[in-house]
């Protein structure tokens, strides 16, 4: 889910698609609007590395190519 807005009291408004909810962000180091976060039980528990998420396909493809066939 993506942080839309930081609210008072270590809360933030996060959204996914058309759904937005208020979550607790006190477990994150320095939450910023635009961060993608993993939400569990109403708490953001980690910020996702967007760069790695975007390269995921490429990473897995390269991994598949590293065959032990030789």
């Amino acid at each position: 889910m993506k942080i839309e807005k930081i609210l008072e009291g270590k809360k933030a408004l996060v959204s996914q698609g058309t759904v937005s909810v208020k979550v607790d962000v006190s477990l994150l180091e320095n939450p910023q609007p635009g961060d993608h976060v993993i939400v569990h039980a109403g708490f953001a528990i980690e910020t996702l590395s967007l760069a790695e998420a975007e390269e995921r396909l490429e990473l897995f493809r390269r991994m598949a190519e590293l065959t032990g066939d030789a």
Partner: protein, 359 residues
């Protein structure tokens, strides 16, 4: 850029080739209940060669909570000394008596919450102490402890925890200590690892350890995790690798770990099906004893018990599969569950019931 489907096909092909070279059956344990569900929901199990079997581990928090814990919660609620607050997935779990918290519905004795962050406001408005059923692994634990601290900071003193917090690494060590464990590698949990980090699994690389790969929950994540495992098995390695690095760091989430460390300490608790696992549970530190429901209400130790015919404890220990149970799909279904493995949406029996056994 390749498509998801192309990459998935390549991963499956490499898993097949590697498995063929290994030339013997391989048992991989998925530790986490979410993996148990997602592997079957996305039919990953049906893409794998027949030599690979997936065993579900003790990774469903509701399932590993002993039946006596539910009995204690029922007694406390009916005594009128406290209101019970809980996540919804505990409601239908039967105690040793066969009764579940859902049997109290409509009497105002049980409050279901979606997030622990609701607890401060709820407790503030309650005339009675509010006892939260603090069930969960490392993913959930920091959220509950944060909520208790938030209540205390807000001057709300009537929120207590009935802790049944469990920790994953000591449980895996315990499984490996059985010489007949038969596990060739671990699909390590994604979200537990978000909190505890890669560093928590160092024991897997020691003598008697097994390969482990921290794995995410999308189809490609799970296929990549399985490929990394079979490659380690082929090479005779036992390393901890991370196929979910977009979320899991070496050190985990330091803030969440600090929240846990400040309020909790290891203790020895009963895991359903596995018995007492040394240090594989967390309880409140002595300075928080006033907020520990077990101490404040002198609750007896939660004993393990199983309904007649239910083999949940053997399923949790990876020693039996749901279809081997005479009750499975007949007397025991998600609508009318006998044991916790069918109650919880993350339970192995519920996953098999909804998405079918292998193939």
């Amino acid at each position: 850029m390749p498509t998801e489907r192309e990459v998935a096909a390549e991963l499956v092909s490499q898993i097949e080739k590697t498995t063929r070279r290994i030339g013997r059956p391989i048992a991989l344990m998925e530790v986490c209940g979410t993996h148990t569900v997602e592997l079957r929901k996305k039919a990953i199990h049906s893409l794998l060669p027949a030599e690979i079997s997936l065993i579900s581990g003790p990774g469903c928090p509701v399932c590993v909570t002993p039946a006596g814990y539910v009995d204690n919660a029922l007694l406390l609620a009916e005594s009128g000394r406290a209101i019970i607050a809980t996540f919804g997935d505990m409601l239908k779990v039967p105690g040793a008596s066969g009764r579940a918290l859902s049997s109290l519905s409509g009497r105002g004795l049980v409050k279901v919450v979606y997030s622990p962050s609701e607890l401060t406001d709820f407790a503030r408005q309650s005339a009675l102490p509010v006892v939260f059923l603090a069930v969960g692994f490392e993913t959930t634990i920091p959220t509950v402890v944060s909520a208790l601290r938030e209540a205390l900071n807000a001057g709300v003193e009537n929120l207590l925890l009935y802790t049944a917090f469990k920790t994953v690494p000591p449980a895996l060590q315990f499984l490996l200590s059985n010489p007949d464990h038969g596990i060739d590698g671990f699909i390590l949990p994604g979200h537990v690892s978000v909190i505890i980090g890669e560093k928590a699994y160092g024991f897997l690389t020691a003598d008697g350890g097994r390969p482990g790969v921290i794995t995410g929950f999308e189809s490609l994540d799970m296929l990549a995790g399985i490929l990394m495992l079979v490659r380690q098995i082929e090479k005779g390695q036992r390393r901890v690798e991370n196929a979910y690095s977009r979320a899991v760091k070496q050190e985990g989430n330091p803030r969440a770990l600090a929240v846990m460390e400040r309020s909790l300490e290891p203790r020895n608790d009963v895991w359903r099906g596995l018995g007492v696992i040394p240090g594989a549970a967390l309880g409140l530190r002595p300075e928080l004893a006033a907020y520990d429901a077990e101490k404040s209400f002198s609750l007896p130790p939660a004993r393990d018990a199983e309904a007649p015919g239910c083999i949940c404890s053997r399923v949790i220990a990876g020693k039996a599969l749901p279809p081997q149970c005479a009750l499975f799909g007949k007397r025991c279904t998600p609508d009318d569950p006998v044991g916790p493995c069918m109650v919880s949406s993350e339970g192995t029996c519920a996953a098999y019931f909804r998405y079918g056994a292998r193939r």
